[in-house]
């Protein structure tokens, strides 16, 4: 017997054949599949009993109630709170995916100080004691040098408890410079104050209105009001008619009964044109105007000078002129005016959730339509909601240094003679710093919410200004664009880890106060910014310490909310629609005690401004029309966060391939305009404006007016994490601010632009 290679091969073949007749290959294949599904780095939800915690999402001003399912100390899923009066269970993708930010890599894990150059991203871990000591010493030093007014605080809100505490701290310390970041609320609040004499927000009873005339509001596109509007539209009967005036077929326009594509920037003219038709045809509410209106007809001031009233003002806005300005037909304008005036419960809305700010005149002109309909303080109409007053205060005393500091003019120019009624002018801050001779007028900046280096118009100018500020503290939860440029990071906990009172969201027609609460234990070494400020106040001592008799923010909330705290703890919110004032006699608190069509206060302010002509301001976009023949407009999307905090990775995943592809953002262009520039679908192109340039791709879209380039707001982040940064470009960096002469607020609704194939 001879054993050779053939025997060996036979043995192997026999073995192979035999193996196929055993369970080995089949069982192993199955087991390997299961083994690969259970690799230890694959995330697996915790197992255990679920708990449901009622809270509120604070990622945008929308104030939607949420229910968070937790297992152990892990937040598993966020859903809309079904009985919450704001959103009734509706929720946007940003709120749903908030756990990605909670557990994601963008978090700042503890207090840190800058180790390298600003913006280099080199940080050194420090203790909270050291961090608070650093801020205290800096503030004490500025105060000793008699310069408390050179401290400024930027916040994204002035309505909740922690922003009140920040503001109170500045007052006790001696600085008038509490600045709220810009939003489409600015012009609305000012319009409400000037025409009705009330500080607060305009509430719209969307659920009961039968005709909603929206001047470019991102009702179903934006983050600001999404939950509220989605729930209202889900409930309303089919008879409610939504008319969307917008140059672009947004989701809101697509869901509206009628889409009216007017040229952007012509909304004021259109509102006045509608007013023209309503006044001309006598379709306005005479009883309301006779009893509660002021300056509908020409009026005389105390000095005996005659001023034009609303009737004279709209005289100039005949349908033929407005047709030219807006690009709409006269017939559309006439019929729109009539259907609005003849509706039983119409509301005219502007500035809710829009990416571009309104001018004061646009806000006033649109608001005046509601007065023509006389639909104030009644179901389906407009309600005047006062600014929050649920927190009770103790009086505080301030020392001489603080008093002297507080008397300095604000660094942003708000409240000055020129802009007497404007409370905050954040977009003027960079210019004020950049144009100052010598030292920066801001020596220390506390960024307590908001992300100005991303959201301010023309962030490059803001960046330049920030470079001149010697000491910047960021309280940001995430390593955002502003935190990247700070000297000291004092991370605030995520909203699922901390208490936060949330006042009535904009647009709500009655008071709703909600409480965000700790759903899970803090993941990192973070502290509530209000706790930090209370600690700094205590360290500074004297009158400043006395102004803060609370242990911490929670103690402050408990004491100052007293009985309401229990309701908030139990229900998560408290709402009050019954005590609304339905009598019109006392609701207008202007000097005339009436609704002012052409506010006297505005007139006085404009006079002080050296502008004798009482007319309507049109906001012209700067730039050479020959070199920059197109107009760039920003738009908001439910799937892109355009505020201080960036998208979650999940939200970016939901974007269509003609919005973002890999790292490129698409701009929308009408095919007609695109062909003039030789652009086809998907082409890479460069968009240029006065403020900057961006590399983009082209998306041909029939739903946008020719001559426009539309770009989503909220992309082009540099901060946060690798999952979020580097996608697309920041549209705000392409739009320089354009000051509204009447208010000083930024009213740049777009920017002149050019586009060329790259």
């Amino acid at each position: 017997m001879k054993i050779d290679r053939r025997c060996f091969l036979s043995l192997v073949i026999g073995g192979a054949v035999g193996t196929t007749l055993t369970p080995v290959p089949w069982k192993l294949t199955d087991d390997i599949a299961i083994w690969s599904q259970n690799w230890p780095w694959t995330p697996v939800p915790e197992d255990g009993p679920s708990k449901f915690v009622k809270s509120v999402c604070t990622q945008c001003p929308g104030g939607c109630g949420i229910t968070v399912r937790t297992i152990g100390d892990r937040a598993i899923k966020i859903e809309g709170q079904p009985d919450h009066p704001v959103n009734n269970g509706s929720l946007c993708p940003r709120a749903i995916s908030a756990t990605q930010h909670l557990y994601g890599p963008s978090r700042i894990q503890g207090p840190m100080k800058r180790a390298g150059e600003r913006g280099q991203g080199k940080w050194e871990k420090i203790s909270w004691d050291e961090a608070i000591k650093t801020v205290t010493e800096k503030l004490a030093e500025l105060r000793t040098r008699g310069k408390p007014h050179t401290v400024a605080c930027i916040s994204d809100t002035d309505g909740n408890g922690s922003s009140y505490l920040m503001d109170r701290f500045l007052q006790a310390y001696g600085s008038p410079n509490f600045i709220r970041t810009p939003s489409s609320a600015d012009a609305q609040e000012l319009a409400l104050y000037l025409s009705c004499g009330r500080q607060g927000t305009i509430g719209y009873d969307f659920r009961k209105a039968d005709f909603i005339l929206s001047f470019g509001c991102a009702l179903m596109d934006g983050c600001d009001t999404a939950g509220q509007v989605m729930s209202a539209f889900g409930e309303q009967d089919k008879k409610t008619r939504l008319v969307q005036i917008e140059a672009r077929l947004s989701d809101t326009a697509a869901k509206a009964a009628q889409w009216v594509p007017a040229k952007p920037g012509s909304e004021t003219a259109l509102a006045l044109g509608l007013g023209h038709v309503i006044v001309r045809d006598g379709l306005y509410n005479k009883a309301f105007i006779d009893n509660h209106g002021f300056a509908f007809e020409d009026w005389q001031d105390d000095a005996g000078n005659t001023h034009p009233g609303y009737r004279s003002l709209v005289q100039d806005h005949s349908p033929d002129k407005v047709a030219k300005a807006t690009g709409l037909s006269e017939k559309v304008i006439e019929s729109l005016a009539r259907s609005f005036a003849r509706a039983h419960r119409p509301v005219a809305v502007s500035g809710l959730g829009s990416a571009a700010p309104d001018s004061l005149d646009q806000a006033l002109a649109v608001f005046a339509l509601n007065a023509l309909a006389g639909n104030f303080q009644k179901p389906g109409g407009v309600f005047l909601i006062d600014e929050p007053d649920y927190l009770s205060w103790t009086e505080m005393k301030i020392d001489k240094t603080a008093s002297a500091g507080n008397q300095h003019p604000r660094v942003d120019g708000a409240g000055s003679e020129k802009f007497a009624h404007t409370r905050y002018l954040p977009n003027r801050l960079p210019e004020a710093i950049n144009s100052a001779k010598g030292d920066s007028p801001v020596q220390a900046l506390l960024v307590a919410g908001g992300n100005p280096l991303y959201t301010l118009a023309d962030p490059r100018a803001a960046q330049k200004a920030f470079e001149k500020i010697p000491f910047i503290v960021s309280f940001s939860t995430f390593i955002d664009e502003t935190a990247e440029q700070a000297d000291l990071l004092l991370p605030h906990p995520h909203f699922l880890e901390s208490y936060q009172d949330v006042p009535t969201p904009r647009g709500m027609a009655h008071t709703v106060v909600s409480l965000a609460r700790p759903v899970v234990k803090p993941q990192y070494d973070t502290r509530h910014m209000a706790d930090v400020v209370i600690q700094i106040a205590k360290n500074l001592g004297g009158f400043i310490e006395n102004a803060f008799p609370w242990k911490n923010y929670e103690d402050f909330l408990r004491k100052s909310l007293s009985d309401q705290w229990k309701t908030l703890e139990k229900k998560g919110f408290w709402s009050d629609s019954r005590s609304r004032d339905t009598s019109l006699d006392k609701i207008f608190r202007t000097s005339s005690q009436r609704f002012e069509f052409f506010p006297m206060s505005k007139f006085a302010a404009m006079n002080g401004n050296g502008n004798k002509k009482a007319g309507v301001e049109k906001i012209e976009l700067p730039g050479n029309i020959d070199k920059l023949p197109l107009v760039l407009v920003p738009y908001t999307s439910m799937r892109i966060s355009d505020g201080a905090v960036a998208n979650t990775p999940f939200m970016t995943k939901t974007l269509d391939a003609n919005v973002v592809l890999e790292n490129d953002v698409f701009v929308e262009i009408n095919p007609k305009t695109a062909s003039e520039y030789g652009l086809s679908q998907g082409d890479k192109a460069t968009v240029k404006t006065q403020a900057g340039r961006a590399e983009v791709r082209v998306n041909l879209f029939e739903g946008i007016m020719p001559g426009l380039v539309a770009m989503p707001a909220g992309l082009g982040r540099t901060g946060f994490s690798d999952y979020i940064a580097g996608k697309g470009a920041n549209v705000y960096s392409l739009i320089a601010p354009a000051a509204d002469p009447a208010s000083g607020l930024n009213a740049a609704w777009g920017a002149r632009a050019a586009i060329a194939k790259a």
């Binding site: 017997m1 026999g14 080995v24 087991d31 083994w35």
Partner: protein
Amino acid sequence: MSTQSDNQTAAAGNRSSGWVVFVFFMIGLVASIISGWVAFPKLLYSTKQQPIDFNHQVHLEQMGGQCNACHFFREDGSFSGSPTLEECKSCHMYPMTGNENEQKFIDEYVNQDKEVPWLIYAEQPPCVFFSHAAHVRGADMQCATCHGDIKNSTSLREYQENRLTGYSRDIWGKSMLRLGEPDHGGRRQKMNDCAECHLKETGSKGNCFQCHK
């Protein structure tokens, strides 16, 4: 000088003969079949003992004969699975009998405040969503249908753990060929077993996302 036929003869003389080749083939075949059927299962599974030998029968007598006295549904409808230390402690804070397993439980777990690392025979991978509520409450099924007659057992079976996946052998079934009933009297619990039962009971195997969410 040799002829061509001489060369052939010489070559044939150097090769192993056909039957030798066949014998080797058979050796390979038989050896692999034996190792595949006998050695492989022994290699694939390691045998483990439960940390405590638990007597279901005794406990059921004490707890009113109801499985859900310990394996209950939570308020939200989710299933609690094996009792936690907290639940066991509500009776066994101190020894109630002279049983050595009880003493071991108290010494090693209650006194050290440690959860018992029970080995779970029916554990499914995390990518599988299974609702006890849908089966027990919704379809009115008995625990024993899938888990076997555990309630009458006086001792816990040995636990065979798949070395590759970490799951119990019960899922695949004792028989490598997946034939016959598993010896614990319940059901095998691979995906096809679920589908088969669903097809029989509901007329449809169901959709992927019902279990893989």
